[in-house]
């Protein structure tokens, strides 16, 4: 509890201690001879103890010409009740209103702490080894790229880097939601935000603190709350119109019916005087004001979204704003990029089919031609070559998007790419019947052979498609630049209903646009990619999901949802988290408005007294807040 909350708690306890015996006295349960004015004065003690700040705020509001807020509602209602002789009720309403406020403050504070604990990846310091071998703690902001830092067991890795000395296991749960420790040794990349578990590591940093994974993720999470959902805007607008509206409604309720009765004479007579009638309606108006307090909705909606974002973050799903939670909840179609999303993206050269040249020589030329590319296929060629590549032998590299690469290696014109590239160069490629991606090579304009490169389907891809179907996603489409045969076999293997093959990067955007045009009835389209080459598609879809995005800045920039590891099952999980969150928001709005509407009508008809009113206000608020906190629990979704 904060200092403010502690003070409020003490005030509530003191007020309650005064209030209970006083109430018994005033109701005559404890027989007494106290005059009415004495009881009034005594009741003012708990009333002011509990509510003096509410009254003060209401007065300041009036002075600044912004009178219509919760404090104003409560002040008018309780002062009204006391003036009308209902001392006990007036004091009780103020007391219980403050109990509600205290509860709300504590609940919000707790979820704030809970969520920041979930995202507890902010490193406070970095260790730098001094010349005499002692460790010095420095601000991670001051560590330059390329410095060597020391991370001891139990400490967080403060900055991204590469291990230069030591072996250890890392806990990456805060980053990826994966609870199994990851073993690292020399030359492995480590990401900031993971916790070193067993051994001392020396790490050469590869980024500045501000550019490191932990800082990026924290920035993303902190910005998420400022992108508000439509329902949040709705609530803010609603509160602005609603409070003045109920104030005028209450005023009308206090004045019009008695006026009507007095003019027409209906309801008067039989011992009922005009004064009694007016008092009765004024009291109803006060009750009306107490019920109408909008705090239940105003607090529970942003709290639900905040808890939902935090809960998703704790499972390695970063959602960039509450507005994306809403879109994610109404996803009806998911389009996938194949490579890196459904398949592992770790290509292996499985066969070399060569004609005149020796296979290894062919591989050497291809690996050199591709030496400047970070495309997974290029990397697989370089891996298969197995020897260090000498970039000095390569010149005139040209990357033709969706086709391949042409370059001069040792002065010879080498072209490495797909069938389209060969057609473009006027070379007749040989057809191959092996399953996999075929990469052709032309040497000085002559066909020289091809490589068969195969990619493995992710173990959990099939499970992911089943989970999506269960989550109510009706349509799944796979988009790939790969040839038809490969696309077909992958789609069938994992159970994707549709596929589009042999697409150039720009075709993928067109495909997504066609899918967007085809989705009706408020159903949204999500596109899932690994962030390599598909940033435009990620931003074109209703919602872009980047997978395994740790380390890929372009993907983090372009996507709306970032899955920190590459487990495809997380897509369905993200959708289910969003659905749960939106459902809770709707439940809260519906429940709070429903209960209030019923109680407002009852109070206007004179069937609800102050006690019911304050229960309708505080009770609904407590239930709505508790319901909102459920958004945080997403483990078993």
């Amino acid at each position: 509890m904060t200092k403010k909350q502690k003070q409020l708690l003490i005030r509530i306890i003191v007020a309650a201690v005064f209030f209970v015996p006083l109430y018994l006295l005033s109701e005559g349960i404890i027989p007494n001879e106290l005059p009415k004015w004495a009881i009034l004065v005594l009741f003012l003690i708990p009333y002011l103890t509990a509510g003096h700040d509410v009254i003060r705020k209401a007065l300041i509001g009036i002075k600044n010409r912004r009178p219509f807020d919760e404090c104003f509602l409560m002040t008018v209602a309780t002062v009204g009740a006391i003036v009308l002789g209902e001392y006990g009720e007036g004091a009780a309403v103020m007391l219980l209103y403050q109990v509600g406020e205290l509860f709300q403050g504590i609940a919000v504070g707790r979820s704030r702490r809970n969520i920041s604990a979930l995202m507890d990846i902010r490193p406070d310091y970095a260790n730098i080894e001094a010349e005499d071998g002692t460790l010095e703690r420095v601000d991670p902001d001051e560590v330059e790229t390329g410095s060597v830092i020391v991370v001891q067991p139990g400490e967080k890795v403060p900055i991204d880097g590469v291990v230069t000395e030591g072996t250890s296991a890392l806990d990456t749960a805060a980053l990826t939601g994966e609870s199994r420790p990851r073993g690292v040794s020399v030359d492995d990349t480590v990401l900031s935000g993971s916790v070193n578990l067993t051994g001392v590591l020396k790490i050469r940093t590869t980024a500045e603190f501000g550019e490191s994974t932990a800082s990026k993720i924290l920035e993303l999470v902190e910005n998420a709350a400022s992108r508000k959902a439509k329902s949040e805007h709705f609530v803010a607008k609603f509160a602005r119109i609603y409070t003045p509206a109920v104030c005028f409604a209450a005023l009308a309720l206090a004045v019009l019916p008695p006026l009507f009765c007095m003019i027409t004479g209906i309801g008067l007579g039989g011992g009922v005087t005009a004064g009694q009638l007016l008092r009765d309606w004024l009291l109803r108006a006060c009750t009306f004001l107490v019920i109408s307090c909008p705090c239940a909705i105003v607090i529970s909606v942003p709290l639900s979204f905040f808890a939902g974002l935090g809960g998703a973050g704790s499972r390695g799903i970063l959602i960039k704003g509450a507005n994306y939670l809403e879109t994610l909840a109404s996803v009806g179609t998911v389009a996938f990029d194949k490579t890196g999303t459904i398949t592992k993206g770790t290509f292996e050269v499985t066969a070399v089919h060569h004609n005149t040249l020796d296979g290894n020589e062919l591989l050497e030329l291809a690996a050199h031609a591709e030496c400047h590319s970070s495309h997974p296929i290029s990397l697989s060629l370089q891996r298969a070559y197995g020897k260090p590549v000498d970039p000095a032998r390569v010149a005139d590299v040209q990357e033709i998007s969706g086709h391949g690469i042409t370059a001069k290696v040792d002065g010879r014109a080498v072209a490495v790419g797909n069938e389209r590239l060969m057609n473009r160069l006027g070379v007749l490629p040989e057809h191959c019947h092996s399953a996999g991606t075929i990469i052709h090579v032309a040497l000085d304009g002559e066909y020289a052979g091809h490589f068969v490169i195969a990619d493995e389907v992710k173990e959990r891809a099939k499970e992911a498609m089943e989970a999506l179907a269960k989550a109510g996603v009706g349509r799944t489409v796979m988009l790939t630049g790969d040839i038809n045969a490969v696309a077909k076999s992958v789609a069938e293997e994992v159970g994707i209903s549709e596929y589009r093959a042999e697409l150039l990067p720009q075709d993928k955007v067109a495909c997504v646009e066609e899918l967007l045009a085809g989705s009706t009835g408020g159903k949204k389209l999500a596109f899932v990619g690994d962030g390599i080459n598909d940033a435009p598609v990620l931003s074109r879809a209703d919602i872009g999901i980047a997978m395994g995005a740790l380390g890929s800045d372009a993907a983090i920039e372009a996507a709306d949802v970032v899955l920190m590891d590459d487990d495809p099952v997380k897509i369905a999980k993200a959708i289910r988290i969003a659905r749960k969150c939106i459902r809770i928001v709707r439940e809260n709005i519906g429940f709070a408005l429903g209960v209030k509407a019923v109680c407002l009508i009852l109070s206007a008809l004179g069937r609800a007294d102050m006690w019911i009113a304050i229960l309708a206000d505080v009770g609904v608020m407590v239930l709505a807040v508790l319901n909102a906190i459920r958004c945080l629990f997403v483990k078993d979704l």
Partner: protein, 72 residues
Amino acid sequence: MKKSYKIEVDCANCANLMEEAAKKTEGVKDASVSFMTLKMKVEFEEGADAAAVMQKVLANCKKVESDCEIYL
């Protein structure tokens, strides 16, 4: 230019009022207040002096919500 400030406010509705007040302040292009993270993000107009504008934002916020605080 965008800047983020830590704030102190007691209720969600008050945070909404602060956001309104900040948006209406001269020199502010857009503003967003998150009650949950207790942060105010302000995007300033071109060439506006952030420190001077924030003083006005603070004054306007105090007007709508006397208990609020912005840590400048």
